[in-house]
């Protein structure tokens, strides 16, 4: 959809598209590295500990459902990116998009970390220890670093 250029450049649509794409891709990194390769961070491991084959397979189901939803995030982000790049008032800025991607990945870690680990107690990053805090806090801290880096990159895109 082509929109007439109305003057001031609009970066928000590009940031929003990057945010959803970044959250989706960050979710895939989480799913591939933490869930599948390291076999940590399973979706229901706080409720159904994956200590038997049956329980591990139950967690695998919920992991799959979560990552199917993350795929939807990625697809919607791609659709919004397509819409944003068709607008004359949205600047074609790699820094703005890159910043949005980092913001999205950071938002994924922070929102998932706060909701699932700290508020709902669905699971922790590393379940096989009595002290879940170090891994959970590292996950959140990494998310905050990504948010700060993303914000800085979006600001740099304005220059």
């Amino acid at each position: 959809m082509q929109t007439a250029n109305t003057g001031a450049p609009q970066r928000t649509p590009l940031v929003a598209a990057g945010l959803l794409l970044g959250a989706g891709l960050g979710g895939f990194v989480d799913g591939i590295v933490l869930h599948q390769i390291l076999q940590w961070h399973n979706m229901l491991s706080g409720q159904v500990p994956p200590d038997t084959l049956v329980r591990a397979k139950i967690n695998m189901y919920w992991d799959g459902l979560f990552h199917a939803a993350v795929w939807v995030l990625t697809a919607v982000g791609l659709r919004l990116l397509w819409a944003a790049t068709g607008r004359a008032d949205v600047p074609h800025s790699g820094r703005t998009l890159g910043g949005g991607l980092l913001l999205g990945w950071g938002a994924f870690n922070v929102i998932e970390g706060l909701l699932d680990h700290e508020i709902l107690g669905l699971h922790h990053v590393y379940e096989y220890t009595p002290n879940h805090l170090p891994a959970d806090m590292s996950f959140l801290a990494f998310g905050l670093v990504l948010l700060l880096a993303g914000g800085a990159l979006v600001r740099a895109g304005r220059a």
Binding site: L19, L20, K57, V72, A107, L115
Partner: protein, 75 residues
């Protein structure tokens, strides 16, 4: 080599669906599809829903803000 591949593929196709764990599939299904299913579904999808609302809301923020201001002005 070809015979080996055909043999492997044939044995794979001949296996039951849950070849790795034929005995535990009913227990796995019972562990997934139970009374807690809707609750777990909502909880598992909650972070994704929050991110989706955040991203789509930001994308359409100009239109949302204009609509909200129009509603506020007409009150």
């Amino acid at each position: 080599m070809r015979k080996l591949l055909v043999g492997l593929l044939g044995s794979y196709l001949a296996m039951p669906v849950a070849g790795a764990c034929p005995w535990c599939r009913p227990r796995v299904q019972a562990g997934i599809y139970n009374a807690a299913y809707p609750t777990y579904m909502v909880l598992v999808l909650l972070p994704v829903a929050v991110l989706l609302v955040l991203g789509v809301g930001l994308f359409y923020w100009d239109k949302i803000r204009t609509s909200l201001l129009a509603i506020y002005a007409n009150r």
